[in-house]
C-alpha cells in the first residue's frame, strides 16, 4: 500500500474549489461558467475519493459510492446547463449571462 499526505490533497481540492469559485464569479460566458462549476465539482469529488481512501472499510466504500453518484450528477448538470445555453442563445442571441437579467424585478 502507498502512503500519501492528506494535507496535500486537501490543499489541492481547496485550491481547485477556489479557482472554480473565482471562475463562477467572474466569467460572463455561460460555457465558461459551466466549466468553472465543473472544476469546483471535481474538487468536491476528489475530496470524497481521498477521504474514502484514507478511511477504509465500509465507510470508505460509501465515500467512493457517493463520488460515483456525484460524477453522475455532474454529468447531468452539464447536460441541463447546455440545454439552458441553447435556450438562452435562441432567446437572446448571446450566451453572456450579464445580459440575461430577467431575475431583476
Amino acid at each position: 500500500m502507498t502512503d500519501l499526505p492528506l494535507v496535500g490533497f486537501i490543499g489541492l481540492s481547496a485550491a481547485l474549489l477556489a479557482i472554480g469559485l473565482f471562475g463562477i464569479l467572474t466569467r460572463r460566458n455561460f460555457i465558461l461558467l459551466l466549466i468553472a462549476i465543473e472544476i469546483a465539482m471535481n474538487a468536491t469529488i476528489l475530496n470524497f475519493v481521498y477521504f474514502a481512501a484514507y478511511t477504509g472499510g465500509t465507510a470508505g466504500l460509501t465515500g467512493q459510492s457517493i463520488a460515483v453518484v456525484l460524477v453522475g450528477f455532474a454529468a447531468t448538470e452539464v447536460a441541463v446547463g447546455l440545454a439552458i445555453v441553447l435556450a438562452l442563445n435562441r432567446l437572446k442571441g448571446t450566451i453572456n449571462v450579464a445580459q440575461a437579467t430577467e431575475l431583476k424585478l
Partner: protein, 665 residues
C-alpha cells in the same frame, strides 16, 4: 320599646326604597304625566323612607347607644401570601348607631319635604321624570352613605352622591352656565375624592392586620366591633402615615363640604333648581364631608397635627365664606356662602374633638338651611328673579315665606331660642375649652367668633332687601303670591324644626344619644350655655349684626358704598370671590389644557414622526439596496458565497468566543 329596636336591622330599607323609586320613575316616569311624571311616586317612596328613617331614629333615641351591624360579603379574596396574609374582604353592610340614626333622620325628613315642595315648585319645568329619578337616586346614595358600615362602602355612596349632584346641578343642561357649574362641582369634589381614596388606602394599609379576629382586612374594614370602634387600639396613634391619612380624609371632606380651598364649586352649584340647592347644597350632600370627618374622628381617630389642621381649615373657612356672603346680591348665593361658613363651624368642632357637637350643628343647620332655601325658592317661584336688589316689600304678599325666612335667619344668626344658637354655642364653647391644646387654636377661634357677627349681618341684609320696604324695586316683576299647601307645608314644618330641633338638647335621651355617639373617642361635650359670658358675647354680636343690617338696609333703604371709600377694593375682591375661580380656571385652561395640547403635538409629530422617520429611512434604504439586485446570476452567486463565509465565520470563530465569554450556558 325593645320591639322597636328590631327596625334597626332594616335600615337598609331606606336606600333600597329610594333605589326602587329611582328605577320606577326613571323607567316609567315619562309616561306618568298625571302623576307629575312620577313625582308623586317619588314622594310616596320618600314618605315610606321617612317612616323607616323616623322609626330607626326613634328606636335609637329611645334606647340610645345601640350599635346594629348587618352585612354581607361583597367580594373576598382567600388568604394569600404577601399582601393580606389573613385574607381580604369587602363587605356591604349597614351600621345603625347614634350618629347614623341622627343623620338618617335629617336626610329623610329634609328629603321628603323637599320632594313634596318640588311638586309645585318644579311643575312647569321639562324633564321632570329625570328630576325625580335623580333626586331619588340622590336620596338613596345619601342614606346609603349615612348607614354604611365601612369606609369602602362609604366611598362608594360618596361617589354616587357626587354624581347625582352633578346631574342635579346640571339639570338645566341647556344653559351653558349650568353645564359648566355641574362639571366644576364634579371636578373639584373629584380632587377631594382622590385624596379621600388615598386616605382610605393609608388606613387600610396601616390597620389591615390590626383588630380582633384576623384583623381589619379579613373582617371587611368595618367601623365597629360591638359598640366600640373596631380599631380601639388605633386611637391616638401618632405616626407620619396616620397624619397623612388624616390630612387626606380632610381633603376629601373639604371637597365635599366646600371648605377652603376647594370651596369654589358650591356657589356656582346654585345653577341647579332651588329645591336641589336646599336638599343637596345645604342640608345633606355637603354634610357628607362633615359626616366623614366625624366618622373618622370617632372610629379611627385623628392625630394632633390633623386636628390642628382641621381646626385651621374650619375656622378660616367660617370667616372666609362669611365675608363673601356680605357683598353678593343673588339670594341663593348669599345662602350658599352661609352654608360654606356654617360647614366651617362643624369642621371646626370635629377638629377640636367634639365630633358629636359638630353633628348636632349639622342636624340643626340642615333644617334651618333647608328652610332658608325653600323660602328663597318660594320667592323665586313667585317673582322669577334671584336678584335681591330687584326685590323688596315682599313681606306683605308672602307672609308665611317672610316669617319662615326670618325664623331661618334668626336660627342662622344664633339668636336664642332658635336652633342655631344651641348648636353654635356648643361649638364655640367647646373650642374655647380646648384653646390650651395649641396656641394656634386662638386665631381660628377668634375668626369663627367674628363670623357670628358677619352671619347675622348678611342674612338679615338679605331679609331686609327682599321683604322690607313698600314694594319691588324692579316694577316689571310679576305680582307676588304665596304658593299652595304643597309649598307651605314644608315651610311650616321646617320652621317648626328650626325652632325645636335645638331644644332637643334638653331631652336627656338626645343628650345621651350624642354622648354615646362618641364611643370611646373624643372629649365628652357639655351641652347648653355653660359659659354665660361666651354666650352673651356671641348673642350680642348676632344682635349687633342684625341691627347693622337694619340700619343700612331696613325699611327699603339701599346702602351704596361711596366710590371713594377705602372699602371699594375690598368689595371688588369679595365680589370676585378672592379671584379663586379665576385662578382655578387659569390652571385648568392655561395649565393643564396647554400641557395636553403640547402632549398631543409630541404624540403626533415626535412619536409618530419618529415612526414615520423610520418608515422613510427604510424606504430610502431599500431604494439603495434594490440596486444590488442586478439580475446577473454571478452577482447572486457572489452574495451566496459571501453569506456562506459569513455563516462560517460566525459559527467557527464568533460563536466559540461568545461561549467562552458567557462561560458555557
Amino acid at each position: 320599646m325593645a320591639g322597636l329596636s328590631g327596625i334597626l336591622e332594616w335600615a337598609f330599607l331606606v336606600p333600597l326604597l329610594m333605589v326602587i323609586s329611582f328605577v320606577v320613575v326613571g323607567l316609567a316616569g315619562t309616561r306618568l304625566k298625571r302623576l307629575e311624571y312620577g313625582g308623586w311616586i317619588a314622594v310616596l317612596f320618600a314618605g315610606a323612607a321617612l317612616v323607616v328613617g323616623v322609626l330607626v331614629a326613634a328606636a335609637e333615641m329611645l334606647s340610645p347607644g345601640q350599635y346594629v351591624n348587618v352585612q354581607y360579603t361583597w367580594f373576598q379574596l382567600p388568604p394569600a401570601a404577601g399582601t393580606f396574609p389573613n385574607g381580604f374582604r369587602l363587605v356591604a353592610g349597614t351600621l345603625v348607631d347614634p350618629i347614623s340614626a341622627l343623620m338618617l333622620l335629617v336626610v329623610t325628613v329634609v328629603g321628603f319635604l323637599v320632594m313634596l315642595y318640588s311638586i309645585e315648585y318644579m311643575h312647569h319645568d321639562r324633564g321632570l321624570a329625570r328630576y325625580y329619578a335623580e333626586l331619588s337616586l340622590f336620596l338613596a346614595a345619601m342614606t346609603g352613605l349615612v348607614i354604611a358600615n365601612n369606609l369602602f362602602e362609604f366611598f362608594l355612596f360618596w361617589e354616587l352622591v357626587g354624581v347625582c349632584s352633578y346631574f342635579l346641578i346640571g339639570f338645566y343642561y341647556e344653559k351653558p352656565s349650568a353645564a359648566s357649574a355641574a362639571k366644576e362641582a364634579f371636578l373639584v369634589t373629584r380632587v377631594g375624592d382622590v385624596m379621600f381614596l388615598l386616605g382610605i388606602f393609608l388606613y387600610f394599609y396601616t390597620y389591615a392586620l390590626a383588630g380582633p379576629g384576623n384583623g381589619w382586612a379579613a373582617s371587611g374594614f368595618v367601623f365597629t366591633n360591638g359598640n366600640q370602634p373596631f380599631l380601639a387600639g388605633a386611637m391616638g396613634g401618632n405616626s407620619t402615615l396616620l397624619t397623612v391619612a388624616g390630612i387626606m380624609i380632610l381633603g376629601g371632606a373639604a371637597g365635599k363640604s366646600a371648605q377652603f380651598p376647594l370651596h369654589v364649586w358650591l356657589p356656582d352649584a346654585m345653577e341647579g333648581p332651588t329645591t336641589v340647592s336646599a336638599l343637596i347644597h345645604a342640608a345633606t350632600m355637603v354634610a357628607a364631608g362633615v359626616y366623614l370627618l366625624a366618622v373618622t374622628s370617632l372610629f379611627l381617630g385623628f392625630t394632633a397635627t390633623d386636628q390642628l389642621l382641621i381646626v385651621a381649615i374650619g375656622g378660616f373657612t367660617t370667616f372666609f365664606a362669611a365675608t363673601m356672603a356680605v357683598v353678593h346680591s343673588d339670594i341663593k348665593r348669599v345662602i350658599a356662602y352661609s352654608t360654606i361658613s356654617q360647614l366651617g363651624y362643624m369642621v371646626l368642632a370635629v377638629g377640636a374633638g367634639f365630633a358629636m357637637v359638630g353633628l348636632f350643628h349639622l342636624f340643626t343647620h340642615a333644617f334651618f338651611k333647608a328652610l332658608l332655601f325653600l323660602a328663597a325658592g318660594s320667592v323665586i317661584h313667585a317673582i322669577g328673579t334671584q336678584d335681591l336688589f330687584k326685590m323688596g316689600g315682599l313681606r306683605k304678599p308672602m307672609r308665611i315665606t317672610a316669617a319662615a325666612f326670618a325664623i331661618g335667619g334668626l336660627a342662622l344668626a344664633g339668636i336664642p331660642p332658635f336652633a342655631g344658637f344651641w348648636s353654635k354655642d356648643d361649638i364655640l364653647g367647646g373650642v374655647y375649652s380646648q384653646l390650651g391644646t395649641h396656641p394656634l387654636y386662638w386665631p381660628f377661634f377668634l375668626l369663627a367668633f367674628a363670623a357670628v357677627f358677619l352671619t347675622a349681618y348678611y342674612i338679615f341684609r338679605a331679609w331686609f332687601l327682599a321683604f322690607s320696604g313698600d314694594g319691588p324695586r324692579d316694577p316689571t316683576l310679576p305680582h307676588a303670591h304665596e304658593g299652595s299647601w304643597v309649598m307651605q307645608v314644608p315651610l311650616i314644618g321646617l320652621s317648626a324644626l328650626a325652632v325645636g330641633s335645638g331644644l332637643l338638647i334638653f331631652w336627656p335621651n338626645f343628650q345621651s344619644l350624642l354622648l354615646n355617639g362618641a364611643g370611646a373617642a373624643g372629649i365628652p361635650p357639655v351641652f347648653g350655655p355653660t359659659d354665660l359670658a361666651l354666650s352673651g358675647i356671641s348673642v350680642t354680636l348676632g344682635v349687633a349684626g342684625i341691627l347693622l343690617a337694619w340700619r343700612l338696609w331696613g325699611n327699603g333703604r339701599v346702602y351704596v358704598l361711596p366710590e371713594s371709600s377705602w372699602a371699594q377694593p375690598v368689595r371688588r375682591l369679595l365680589l370676585n370671590r378672592y379671584y379663586f375661580k379665576v385662578g382655578y380656571d387659569w390652571i385648568g385652561q392655561r395649565g393643564v389644557y396647554s400641557v395636553a395640547r403640547a402632549a398631543d403635538f409630541v404624540d403626533q409629530f415626535v412619536i409618530d414622526g419618529t415612526v414615520h422617520g423610520f418608515e422613510r429611512m427604510f424606504a430610502a434604504l431599500s431604494e439603495r439596496l434594490r440596486r444590488i439586485q442586478s439580475g446577473v446570476v454571478s452577482d447572486y452567486a457572489a452574495y451566496v458565497v459571501a453569506g456562506l463565509i459569513a455563516v462560517f465565520v460566525l459559527l467557527l470563530l464568533v460563536a466559540p468566543y461568545l461561549v467562552t465569554l458567557v462561560g458555557g450556558a
